[in-house]
């Protein structure tokens, strides 16, 4: 037992105890919330991607509108690239994505959409300027897209959706070349 006998044996006061337990309960509730989100079914290859809407960053538009809805893009191949300005591997693939977009954009058959995952507007704008990205880009507000696609891994990730709105391919990690992007798109046609 302890050596102390003279000191008064003060325990933890009730307010402190209440604070500790409240903090613990709040923390656990928060994690439970994250867990529930993580339990949503993941977008599966071969299955239709659920509908979602996006509002592009200022200065971006596609077909004359600054908003997009996945449903409106039916009939086109949709390439959704998830990135972030703090993501090093994203920088590696950014020029390739832009080059691939330049190749496809006039055909009107393939749409590239950049989705910026947990980022600051300033960081995003700097990144988009640095790599001269011209395909439409939007922030992943409320991580909505991430939860629809139920992403588990880090950035970058790229999702290829076919003309019927079915998820056909997921690339995790950066592309190593323009040709890699093109060959995936060719595989979907």
């Amino acid at each position: 037992m302890t050596e102390e006998t003279t000191n008064e044996k003060r325990g933890v006061s009730l307010p402190v105890q209440i604070a500790i337990w409240t903090f613990l309960a709040a923390l656990l509730a928060l994690v439970a919330f994250g867990l529930r989100r993580a339990q949503n079914p993941m977008a599966e290859i071969g299955k239709p991607v659920p509908q979602f809407d996006l509002e592009y960053y200022p200065g971006y538009e596609y077909n004359g509108t600054a908003k997009m809805s996945l449903a409106d893009l039916q009939g086109k191949i949709v390439v959704i690239n998830i990135w972030a300005s703090w993501c090093k591997p994203c920088e590696q693939e950014a020029p390739d994505l832009e080059e691939a977009w330049q190749f496809y954009k006039d055909g009107g058959d393939v749409v590239f959409i950049g989705v910026d995952y947990v980022d600051t507007p300033a960081g995003a704008s700097e990144y988009l300027t640095k790599f001269n990205i011209s395909f439409p880009n939007a922030p992943d507000l409320k991580s909505n897209i991430s939860s629809i696609l139920n992403r588990q891994m880090g950035v970058p990730e790229t999702y290829f959706i076919d003309r019927a709105g079915v998820l056909r391919h997921v690339k995790i990690g950066p592309f190593s070349s323009v040709n890699e992007i093109k060959s995936i798109i060719q595989g979907i046609e």
Partner: protein, 686 residues
Amino acid sequence: MFAEFGYGILVVSFIVAIYSVFAAVYGATSKSAAMVESARRSMLLMFPLISLSAAALIYLLVNNHFEVAFVYEVTSRSMPTYLKVTAWWGGQAGSLVFWSWLLAAFASAVTIRKWERDIEFLPWVIVICSTTLIFFLGMVVVFENPFTRFWLVNGNVEPHMFAPANATLFTAGDGNGLNPLLRHPGMVIHPPMLYLGFVSYVIPYAFAMAALITGRTDDRWIRLTRRWSLWAWLFLSFGLVLGGRWAYDVLGWGGYWGWDPVEIAAFMPWLTGTAFLHSVMIQEKRGLLKHWNMILVILTYALVIFGTFLTRSGVLSSVHAFANSPIGPFFMGFVTLSLVVSIALVIWRWPMLRGETEMKSMLSREALFLLNNLLFMSVLVICFWGVIFPLVSELFTGQKVTVGPPFYERATAPIFAALMFLMGVAPLSAWGHSTIQTLGRAMWKSALAAAIITAVLFATYTQNYIALIGFFLIALVLLVTFQEFWRAARARQRAQSENFLTSLTRLMGRNRRRYGGYIIHISMMLMAIGILGIEIFQKETQGSLKQGDQLDIGGYTVEYRELASWDDSGKGVNFTRATIDVYKNGIYLGELNPRIDYYFDSQQNMTIPGNRSTFRDDLYVLLVDWQPVSSMGATFKIFVNPLVNWLWIGSLLFLVGIIFAAWPDRDPAEEPVRVARKANQTSAAD
């Protein structure tokens, strides 16, 4: 056959673990030595049992039993045998078995030791270890069974443990293969090291809980576990360093640490573990901070479990995350249980954990150690906040805000600087009492020399003030530490009339923990040199080169010579390798071969840098892209990473330091009891 055997054994171990908890609790409460002994024996049975199950799993992995879902997911025919064995921890289900196996090994090692003097701890240590084991085995038995097999049921392939009605076993021709990123020597040992670190922190926690439950809250539990915690710290540190080296070699972004949530999840118990290593000395020497040490041990264990939970359940997005898994709620339940029980116990025993004396001086060594602990806790709070902030923000505002590397770097850099300063000051302060004058007398020479070094660096190397502050602190700590070695060895040399080297080695041998600690401080400073170098002075460029074209960066000239591409069907890999010549000031230095490996089985690329490493800087070249005909050109990304080699040199020295400090010299139970009760103890009397 092997699958049923392996699973059966897992179920048996699960039941034995449950039994050992009940036997231990019953034995402790009814004072039945026989029951406690029975619990101890069942605890000892766990390791051989889980080993058998693991052997069955390894047999299936090595022999291409692709009817087993786990084997199908993580191996392929083209993988060499050693990778098939290490694929054991390459997926969720297998790594949970691996975790359980390590925990059983450690728990057995603990139960074998002599318990005569601490017999009241034994049942409760068994309860904590077994409960943790029940939980991990439960996940494997119920949710993530590595022995699940594929069955053909009405034309569909379904995974089941046992044959459903009208089903036949389905065997795939070849497996998916291990993620190529994981087929790296660093990756082979990085996860086991981290797991070892994680698992070994269960033991100090078990003793802490036993101390709280039995009410024997003196230093005994600390004396019994401090070497455990040193080894645990060794494994955890080594795991973190290996992960950094692996990232540098394989991930191809020229970095070693990305502040990824899972990296942070492994870093957080390291922070509390490091704080504990320091504060435990205060309890041993001065009888202070008993509450705090208890909280640190609990926190470390909680962070280990919490970190594993975050990684495994998919709550956080991360490159390290395992695929979506049903274990989340179950894991959550265990996290809740262990936190609630630990906190309740601490609150219950709070009055028994009071310190024996009080702090007398704000500059005494114990006060500086306390400050060190507070700084570590601040880094922990920043990390923790960064990890859960996306959840908080999403819950309350619906917006996610970046918590990327810039946040962590900006928030933690000043704290790390303060920690470095403390590393320079604390070794000079005395237990009990120090003043500005005594510290100043001990420090001024080193501080002056460090200032001169900084001035020279200002004149010759850099004008970046952050770097200069960093270099000043590094120089200060190194000089103070060397001075400490010098001063103590000289004093001993005079007293014992030995030669200097004999004095130094004997001195270090007598005070392993102290001088091991100093070696670790020196290694930290070497690592800091590397980190400053790459964080502040890293240069990068990217360019497409035709054959014979040159590119200049950071004093180097690189020239693209040729490109070759070939298939190695035995390994199932296509290699594309560029050859570039490196010159510096017109002098030819050699060639580099950055390459891209394409793995057919998993259809994934791996970018392997060509790296030329010197003490001054690394030239780190990545092959980004190439034209079909090699003469047409290829694109390279080139980094010059100044001083980064010191990070790895420091890491090696760091291991030397920990092993030196943790090396068993005598039974810790036989060590002399606290020596420094007097107030004006000098630091040399450590």
